[in-house]
């Protein structure tokens, strides 16, 4: 084994990483399939001249120390996760040749999710799956590929269908997916089958090198130690028994028609990043906002209503506009199930002072867009505060007599403007007019920067003006 391994220059000459005195032989048992497969891979890497480009992933299992041997970039990973790690590496270095090397416990038990999804994404990696029908490293427990009737440490009376189900055929499963390009089950049995495996290993790696194709090679191999067989007997068993249960052959091959996959990323200059990230900052018109700089604003606003009434955006528009008046602002939504129930609310703080908690428990202003919101929050409003409610939708008056109350038919007014959805902006207009919070001119001018739906800007501007007019008329 040792001699075979040392032949390839993709192996280290001396296994310096191996602890202990013996730096020349591998840790694999005589007759183990891993050693042979290692050799076939190393030889292919040599022949294709890709040793330097290769990143080999050692799994958890008997091949955990593959990095003692391979003179390539090496990454040792958690049990079953090699395809996920391979994904992260290949995406970072698309030019590299990434090998995910795994045993049957690793790939077909604990790591089924990772292999299925890496395969399904068609990651540009090569997976070598060593199926020896047993857990080697941990001392001969059942693998998902253990045969019916096969005795292992955890199936002492033999695997039964009743208790453990059937051996899992990973190649057939992977071949049902669309993205994999080449899937084959081979074996390390006699010389002939090993020579065929050599060809398959080469084909798979070449498909990664040339086309970034996802390939999956299942290698039936022997674990003589746990099978308690001699090396030659165990190979015979692979050939006669294991291969009988796991049919050899190509399960999928679309390598001819598969177009090389370009994994390169977009090139974006640092100087373009601020634009790409849309980091445009809000314009502040110091002249127009000058009258508002002396005001001692400290509003804690609760906006509440049905989902779909634009409650959250009413809050963000107020905050965004506050920011354009050099106020400190914060916006906090109710989120999650609270929203799914059909009601939504948000807390908005607009202040000249630094904002502590963003949560509004006792609002200075309550904006109630539906009846449940009025019912829920009316009594939280501070004495001397303000309640604005949409009386085109809410069929009762607030009962508080220690607060200001504005009944505004916001929905009706919005309908008159042609779109119910603008009711929230009618209220924005009303509030800033009533409290003289902000410059209406600035608000109207910046609305385009703030709203996502650009086709609704004009309508919403009209709504704000309409809301303000309503208040002016009230004041008259």
């Amino acid at each position: 084994m040792n001699n075979i391994l040392k032949k390839s220059s993709s192996f280290y000459d001396v296994y310096e990483r191996r602890p202990g005195a013996d730096k020349l032989t591998t840790t694999y048992c005589p007759g183990c399939g891993h050693g042979v497969l290692h050799k076939l891979i190393a030889e292919a890497l040599d022949d294709f001249g890709v040793r330097e480009k290769t990143i080999f992933i050692s799994p958890v299992g008997c091949s955990v120390f593959a990095y003692y041997y391979f003179h390539t970039g090496n990454v040792q990973v958690a049990h079953g996760r090699a395809p996920a790690v391979a994904t992260g590496i290949k995406r970072a270095h698309p030019h590299s040749v990434v090998i995910s090397y795994q045993g049957d416990g690793d790939l077909a038990a604990i790591g089924t999710a990772e292999i299925m999804h890496a395969a399904n994404r068609g990651e540009g990696i090569t997976v070598f799956f060593v199926n020896n029908a047993i857990y080697g490293m941990t001392g001969g427990q059942m693998a998902p590929t253990t045969l019916i009737g096969q005795k292992t440490m955890t199936t002492p009376r033999g695997r039964t269908v009743k208790n453990e189900g059937f051996p899992i055929c990973m190649s057939e499963i992977i071949a049902t997916l669309k993205a994999p390009v080449f899937v084959e089950r081979v074996m390390i049995g006699d010389t002939k089958s090993t020579m065929h495996t050599r060809q398959t290993v080469r084909k798979a790696l070449k498909l990664q090198i040339e086309k970034n194709a996802f390939t999956f090679i299942e290698v039936l191999a022997a674990c003589p130690s746990n099978m308690k067989m001699t090396p030659s007997r165990s190979r015979q068993w692979v050939k006669e028994v294991l291969a009988d249960n796991f049919p050899l052959g190509v399960k999928k091959d679309i390598s001819e028609e598969f177009e090389p996959k370009d994994l390169s990323r977009m090139v974006v200059k640092n100087s373009e990043l601020h634009d790409t990230l849309k980091l445009e900052t809000a314009k502040v018109d110091s002249e127009k906002i000058a009258p508002y700089q002396e005001k001692m604003i400290n509003e804690e606003i609760k906006v509440a209503g049905f989902g779909g009434q634009g409650v959250l955006s009413l809050g963000t528009v107020l905050s965004e506009m506050g920011m354009r008046h050099n106020y400190e602002v914060s916006w906090l939504p109710s989120y999650g199930p609270e929203m799914r129930g059909g009601t939504a609310n948000c807390s908005v703080k607009i202040s000249k002072k630094k904002i502590g908690s963003p949560l509004v428990a006792n609002p200075t202003v309550l904006i109630a867009m539906n009846r449940p919101s009025l019912d829920k929050f009316e009594h939280d409003v501070i004495s001397g505060g303000l309640i604005i409610y949409d009386d085109s939708l809410i069929d009762r008056k607030p009962t508080r007599d220690d607060v200001d109350i504005i009944a505004i038919p916001a929905t009706k007014l919005a309908d008159e403007l042609g779109n119910t959805k603008a009711a929230n902006m009618v209220i924005v207009g009303a509030l800033i007019e009533y409290k003289d919070l902000m410059s209406q001119e600035v608000v109207l001018e910046s609305l385009g920067d703030v709203l996502k739906r650009k086709n609704l800007i004009e309508l919403n501007q009209k709504a704000i003006i309409r809301g303000a007019e309503f208040i002016k008329n009230l004041k008259k």
């Binding site: 970039g73 994904t87 992260g88 590496i89 990230l277 900052t281 502040v284 916006w331 989120y335 963003p358």
Partner: protein, 350 residues
Amino acid sequence: MAKQFLKGNEAVVKGAILAGCRAYYGYPITPASEIAHAAALYMPICGGTFIQAESEVAAINMVYGAASAGERVMTASSGPGISLKQEGISYCAGSELPCVIVDIVRGGPGLGNIAPEQSDYNQVVKGGGHGNYKVIVLAPNSVQEMCDLGMLAFDLADKYRNPVYVLTDGFIGQMMEPVEFPEPIEKIPEKSWAVKGTDETSDNLITSIELDPDDLERHNQKLQQKYAIVKEQEQRAEEYRTDDAEIILIGYGIVSRILQTVVDKLREEGVKVGMLRPITLFPFPTKSMTELAKSAKFFLTVEMSNGQLVDDVRLIIEGKIPVYLYNRMGGNVPSIKEIHDEVMKLMRLS
């Protein structure tokens, strides 16, 4: 004050990209999902990768791969997802891989709820996974800090070759505030240890396995030395009106925002109270804490967890002064009034 108004969950992604992060691997979970949304939107067009992984387990292992490859990489999640990532984070710590994990904490245990809690404190600050390791933990309390500390996280991760958490709660993730973004960093530090598919890196090995007990002990000792340096050099805390304070309120994340208001209110009432806000949870700000304990009558720790933070405060204070706890759980956020009244009650007691 030319700023942009956006969510904490979005600010952390934009900051990350400015910090040179070009890979995001994650699995959706409320209240962290907007981080994935923003990463999906921006990573690819900024020259990076975004993948919605099949699970948090896969996501953190993709992070492990990208970090091995020398990339600045991040993931984000919340309670249950962080639990699933723990094995992978232990591997990252063992293999000394720099990466950034954002945890927008929700209510637990189990599925709990999606309201803000701080109950991931132990599983994040104490490591959470197996083995003798530590992760650096930054605790932003504003949207601006989601950007700033998020960016710092990448620097610290590279500096110490260690996972770094940005730990905050649903409120800080979900809320919107004005943010000012800095210029992008020029270049990420050279990582000669990474595997890059090049000749120069073909002798590099990323691993956490050390079979020989002496070797593994040496590795552990090396890690502990690194953590000792982190403890010495990276403590960060904010003190608010602590100058003549006799009472110190302690809290991080959203709680500190509330405490700030409580302090102002009590100060108006003539109570000499201040706040200490840990910005780093590991390293724990022991220096400012011991200093403040010299002149304070008592500490009150306020948290949205079952005393996970107060345990650490008490360890530092060692009974020198009383350290009290006021906490809420289940997604309830302590109100200004509750904390105010608690302070008044404790003042009467002491």
